[in-house]
Structure formats: structure tokens, C-alpha cells
Symmetry: C2
Subunit: 439 residues, 2 copies
């Protein structure tokens, strides 16, 4: 079989390898869907593949690993802006849950997933970790458009558009898991919604399946102080304590939000290898609380970043989320050195990959990894001059400056334009849903 | 004299009038540099000026008042990214002040001002409130490129590239004020840097001149808890108390940052009509503290928004700042209804105009006001679907979606492209400064 070679020559290569090397005037060579090598520009013509390779020169751009959105509800993009300026429980119970009951089906999930995936791709996200209804549909969409995805197998105790009861959720989860195993770009995670919506019995089964199949568990945990207080009142236990008893505190767990943590809990999750998916903009917008990022980074907890759904953010811009995470960690800890620009990029790339069990495949620019890459054009007014491309990306760049996106070696965005997606059609479908929902 | 007419027909008109009316399918009619009238689209052809007018149809766009950046140090854009992840005093004394001493002159100020003004214009800011050295140079630049500006007449006690001592600062301030009075787009404000860098004697003179000339006073106040504590130790007074004794607490004062406020102070500034320029991203990034926005809004304090300089933000994107302000007010108060989308837009428009003494001229779309307007294209993936254009602008839109900008009736940005500014030249000048500074 003929191999396909692409040679990308950016101004800067932000490798996000273990030494966080930033290379000036290097070439990144792709063979098919993988990174073959990194080589100085002045040696690139000596490569055996040089003659057959496509050469992509990006002197104004920084190349970095594609962003990993570690927590989202992609299809909720169709509800973006239906209810704002409200606290979490009122937003959920008075607006989101009723709208979901009325509108969500497989077609809604598909159209919403496409809108979200396109928005994410356009803004530099190359892998998303989703939690929503109709995971089988979402998985097929992801594979069809070439978006690397981890699809959450939703588990709840109450009936929804997707399943009637805990048994049916679990049954459908295992069926979807089997189907998803056949999709090369997609993998699955168990997604019990939250401690307050899933019973001990279901959680025990999730823990067992997760361990047997070595699949991550993706769950909202300690999103607000009220959640923790109510659980204590009802069960005598804080939710994390309960999850610990149910064998869920381990390196398979991606605990989302985690705004409410005491000293003991921080030690426990650090020791257990739990990943924390921090969603700063959603937490701020819903007044949910603030995750103690500075402390978690100090303790070596694997912190990754998510946008949450577009109904509570309201964009899916992980570059913006990196910046908010860095600023909020400094502001909330009173320490301007907390969560520096490099740590913020690690959270959005290699740490996300690690949480999803994909760190050997994506999350950094290193030979052998899959080519999930993005180029950010720093020539705009707002990113000039360039003293430090890393600071520029985190503190000044806008996601519209993402000029090129590769996922699994396939170029999805070139010179700011989609190569494969039809964004007009995606927007038209979203607008037609909005017309129905509004009326 | 022949009048010039422009008729803008946006999808939505966000007037920011006192009732915060959002009009669907209305036309905004400009006569020369002013808004002549607002009229329903289906009646627009009956206007006497219709035949001679330029018609600008923007069905995918929301039209709103241009943004007012109430606190910036425009020329510091040339230092963007030289020192990040550091606390305020270390950042100032070890990095910024030495760099300023070494590099700042009239040419630096001019080139930096152009970079910043272009970045702001591109992202929807039509009026800026500046504080920096060489205010005469900045004022001439602003007038030359057509950027409405309030230029701070800097006052310090210590020598700098601009003046040797307090006397010379004040002398130069008054001279610059006289020069600026001749520039139609520019006005001036006294800009004593901060309570800890300006003596009682100078502040008394500033208060007197401000009152005599009816000119705003633009000053960093209570930026950090440490500033307040040190002042108490040295003088026995909190800085606001001292400013009160010096007759500075009145409606001419734009107090910037204000992260550290007690109950008594909040009441006092509300009663005195002091405006607060909130700079959430700078405050977070430098770990300075968090302005109590939710409380200040409740008490009716005139809150406006600033980006601060690009060396501490690191962009000059007021649309992003609106979003951060809304999210941070909710997150820090624990109240998701605090600082809603409308209040956030008011802070960035009419409240800024009020702080600068320009509320009768700009800050809303109302007949008779100057035509400082921006159009935001909501057709992008990240702002679809549109249930509520106001929420969409604050919580989802990116500044790159600003498609058109008018300042004083002059179109400065059309279909995302500058009409008058040469941004390549501006970027080239910035890059050449960076080369010198880096070496």
C-alpha cells in the first residue's frame, strides 16, 4: 500500500512532550495517520519521503496538539441560549429537562452533535468526551465526520427519552459499547450522570463493567456545595465517600466539576489517580462554585478541561476555556503564578488524553502518536508582537485564529475553511430545530 | 452642504436605551455623523433621504452601540507577553517599569497606540479611555485614525520618560489638555496613576482642575488588598478615605479595579456618583482580587468595563471582557442571576459613556447620538441557533464576529475588513519594536 506523507512547517512547534519543548523552525512529518518524525527545517529535504510529501508551510503559525474537550454534552448546542442567568437546579429542572423530554430524539442528537462537533473542530478541538442520550447515534456521527470522540454511555435512575429504568440504561449502554468498538475513531465511557441521579446498585455495576472492560467512567461529581450537603443529609456520606465505597475512585474515573473538595478528598483522589475535568466557564455561569485548581495542580492530580454543553457555557471553545482556567486559578487562589500558560495547555491536551485513556495515542506532538494537530495563526493584531508563543496562545489568541486542523492525519480545516464538513447545512438544520422549539 | 445618509438594516437592533429595547427588522438611519432615526424596515423606503442613502443590509447581524473600553494603557500592546504568570508588584517593578524606562518614547507610544486602537476597532471598541505617557502623541494618533478616545493626562510623583517631577507632570497635563480641546474625536481626563504613586499636593491640584474644567479623573484605586493595607500602615487611612478628604470622590472619578471595598466604602461611592471601571481579566491574571460587581450593581453604582493594557490581559477584546465580567460576577457571588447579559452590555456601552462624561453623545442607539455602532454577525456555528441575540452576544459570540464598525458615522470596518487602517503596516511596526526589545 502507498503511504501518504504530509510535512508541516510551522513557525513554532509546541510539542507538549514531557519537557514541554517549543521548537523553532522544525518540520513535523506525518505518515498516513501518524506522526513519523520531527526534524529541523534545514534537514527536511534530505528525508526519503520528501519528494512524495505534501508540504504545508505555516511560518506565522504555532503547531500544537489538537485540544481535548474532556466534558461536553454536544447535542445540547441546539438549546444554546434558551435559558440563561439561572442557577444549576432551576436551569435543569425548569428549562433543560422539560425541553429534553419534549424534543430530544435520535435526529435531534445527530443534528446537535454535528453542530457541536463542527464548532469544536473549527476552534481547535480534535477529541471530545461526550455525555448525552442516544450515544449510538452520536458515535456514528463522530465516525462519519472524522471527529475523535469518547461517547458516554448514559446511566440514570429515572426515565428519559433514551430509557425507562436503570436496567434499560445499562442494557443499552452495553449494546452501544459493543457497537462503538467497531468504530476506529470512537471509544466509549460509562456515563452515570451524577451521584444524586444514580443508585448504588447501578453504580456498583458500572464500577464492575468499567474495571472488566477497562473503560473510563465519566460523571458529574461535587458540582455544587448544595449537592454535597443534600447527599450528606440523605445518606450521611459526601458523594465522593460514597463513590469510594462503590469502588469508583480509581484512574478510570473522570470526575467532572469538583468545585467542593476538602483536604482529605484532595489527597484521596490524588492517591487514587482520579482525573478531574474542570469546566470553569460553566461553573461560573451557573454559580456552581470554583474548582481548587491551584491546589489540585500542586498535588499532582490529573486536571483536564471541558466546556460542558453549549446550553451552559455558551460556546464550545476550549482555547477560551484554557484562558479562563488559567485566569480563574490565579484569581481564586490569589497567586498570579498558579496555573501558568504551560500547565493550561497541558490540561487541554495531554492531561485530557490521559483522562480518556488515550495518552499513548494523542495529546502531544511526538513520533508514533496519531496526527491530531492544530495550527494557530499568530499574525493577527491581537497576537502581535510574539515574544512567547505559549503565552500568546493562552492569554491572547482567539479560537478564530485556528487555521488548520488535522484529526487522525486527515486535514479537516485548511486556511480557516472546512475541507469536509458543510457548515451551511449544519447551521440550517440547527436553525430549523430552533424554529420548532421556539414556537 | 450635502448631507450623507447611511441606512443600516440589521436583523436585530440592540438599542441599549433606558428600556433596553431589542428591535427586530428595524433600520437605523445615519445623517452624517449622527443617528437620525430608527424606523421599521417596511417603512424605510418612504424616508425622504432613502434615494440618496447608502443601504447596508445585515440580516444576520445584531447592531449595537460601539463598545467603550473604560480603562486601558493602549501603547503597552508592544509589551504583550514579555512577562506573564507574575503578581502585580513583581510584574510592575521587575519587568514593566524597567522596560518602560528603557524603551518608551513618542514613537513607541504612537506605534503602540496604533496597534492597540486597531485591535480594539477590529473587535468592536469604538471609544477608549487611555492612561499612558506621551498623551499628546496618543491624542493625535486617535484623531488621525478616527478612534474616539479619552486620553489620560498622566500624573506621578517619580520621574519617568515623560516628566521629571510632579510639577512637570501637571504642567504637561494642562498643555496637553489645551491641545486636545482642538481635536473633535478626543477629549482628556486627568490620570493620577494611583494613590500610592501620587502625593496629596498633586491630588489636590488634580481635584481642583477636574472640577474647574469639568474633566474626568481616571485613576487606579484599591487594585489589591496589599495596596490598601500598606496605605493604612503608612497613612492611617484607606486610600478611598484619603481620596475623599482630597475632594476626589465625585461623579468625575473613574476608579479603576476596586477589588477591595468594605460596606461603608460601597455606600460612599454610590452616594458620591463615582464610576467603577472593572477589569476582570487583568484582576484575575495578576491575582489582584475580585471586584464585588454583584453588590455594586445592586447599589446602583455606575459600573463600566476595561481591558487594562495588553501586557496584563493579554488582549484588548471588550466583548470577551463582557463575558468574563458576567461569568465572574455570578461565580464569585454564587448567584447565577447576578450581572445578567443585559447588564453586561450596559457596562460595556452606556455605563462607560456615562463614566467618561459622554452619555449624551454615545453609548446607545438613539436619535441624535453620534453614530458609534458595531454589527455582530451571528450566523457562525458558535452563535447558532439564535433564541436570544443578547445572550448570544454576551455568552457565545467571539470578537472576530464583529463585521462592521462605525465611529462618528465613519465606517471603519466593513465585512470584517478595515476600510481605512493598514493593519499590515501596524503589525510590521510592532514586530520591529519586538525585535529591538527582545535583543
Amino acid at each position: 500500500m502507498q503511504h501518504r506523507y504530509q510535512i508541516i512547517q510551522p513557525g513554532w512547534t509546541i510539542t507538549v512532550n514531557s519537557g514541554f519543548e517549543v521548537l523553532r523552525d522544525f518540520a513535523v512529518v506525518l505518515e498516513d495517520n501518524r506522526i513519523q518524525t520531527l526534524i529541523a527545517n534545514d534537514a527536511v529535504t534530505e528525508l526519503p519521503c520528501y519528494e512524495q510529501a505534501e508540504i504545508i508551510r505555516l511560518p506565522n503559525c504555532a503547531l500544537m496538539p489538537g485540544l481535548v474537550n474532556s466534558h461536553t454534552h454536544a447535542s445540547m448546542g441546539l438549546f444554546r441560549g434558551i435559558a440563561d442567568d439561572l442557577p444549576l437546579m432551576e436551569w435543569l429542572t425548569a428549562h433543560i429537562w422539560p425541553a429534553e423530554t419534549r424534543w430530544v430524539d435520535a435526529q435531534f442528537t445527530a443534528d446537535g452533535f454535528m453542530l457541536a462537533a463542527a464548532e469544536m473542530m473549527r476552534s481547535g478541538t480534535t477529541c471530545l468526551n461526550d455525555m448525552y442520550y442516544f450515544p449510538d447515534t452520536a458515535a456514528r456521527c463522530a465516525q462519519a465526520i472524522g471527529m475523535r470522540s469518547v461517547i458516554g454511555l448514559i446511566v440514570l435512575d429515572f426515565p428519559s427519552v433514551w430509557a425507562r429504568d436503570a436496567d434499560e440504561y445499562l442494557h443499552k449502554a452495553l449494546a452501544a459499547h459493543d457497537e462503538i468498538r467497531e468504530l476506529p475513531l470512537v471509544s466509549s465511557a460509562f456515563a452515570p450522570h451524577a451521584p444524586y441521579t444514580v443508585s448504588d446498585e447501578s453504580l456498583r455495576l458500572v464500577a464492575m463493567y468499567s474495571s472488566e472492560l477497562d473503560v473510563p467512567v465519566h460523571m458529574h461529581v461535587h458540582e455544587t456545595a448544595a449537592e454535597v450537603a443534600e447527599a450528606q443529609q440523605k445518606t450521611g456520606l459526601r458523594p465522593l465517600e460514597r463513590l469510594d465505597q462503590l469502588n469508583l475512585l480509581n484512574s478510570n474515573l473522570i470526575a467532572v466539576h469538583m468545585t467542593e473538595l476538602d483536604e482529605f478528598e484532595i489527597e484521596r483522589i490524588a492517591e487514587a489517580g482520579v482525573s478531574v475535568a474542570h469546566c470553569p466557564e460553566s461553573n461560573l455561569k451557573l454559580g456552581s462554585g470554583i474548582c481548587p485548581v491551584a491546589t489540585l495542580l500542586e498535588r499532582g492530580v490529573n486536571l483536564c478541561l471541558g466546556t460542558d454543553g453549549a446550553a451552559s457555557n455558551n460556546d464550545l471553545d476550549l482555547l477560551g476555556e484554557m484562558r479562563t482556567a488559567a485566569l480563574l486559578a490565579k484569581g481564586s487562589s490569589g497567586n498570579a503564578s498558579a496555573c501558568n500558560a504551560r500547565q493550561s495547555i497541558e490540561m487541554a491536551t495531554i492531561n485530557g488524553a490521559r483522562a480518556l485513556g488515550l495518552a499513548d495515542r494523542i495529546g502531544s506532538i511526538e513520533a508514533g502518536k496519531y496526527a491530531d494537530l492544530i495550527a494557530i495563526d499568530l499574525s493577527g493584531l491581537n497576537t502581535q508582537p510574539v515574544y512567547d508563543p505559549v503565552a500568546q496562545i493562552v492569554y491572547a489568541a482567539a479560537s478564530r485564529q485556528v487555521s488548520h486542523v488535522w484529526i487522525d492525519g486527515v486535514i479537516q480545516l485548511r486556511d480557516f475553511e472546512f475541507c469536509r464538513l458543510d457548515s451551511d447545512e449544519i447551521v440550517a438544520r440547527a436553525a430549523s430545530w430552533a424554529q420548532k422549539i421556539r414556537s
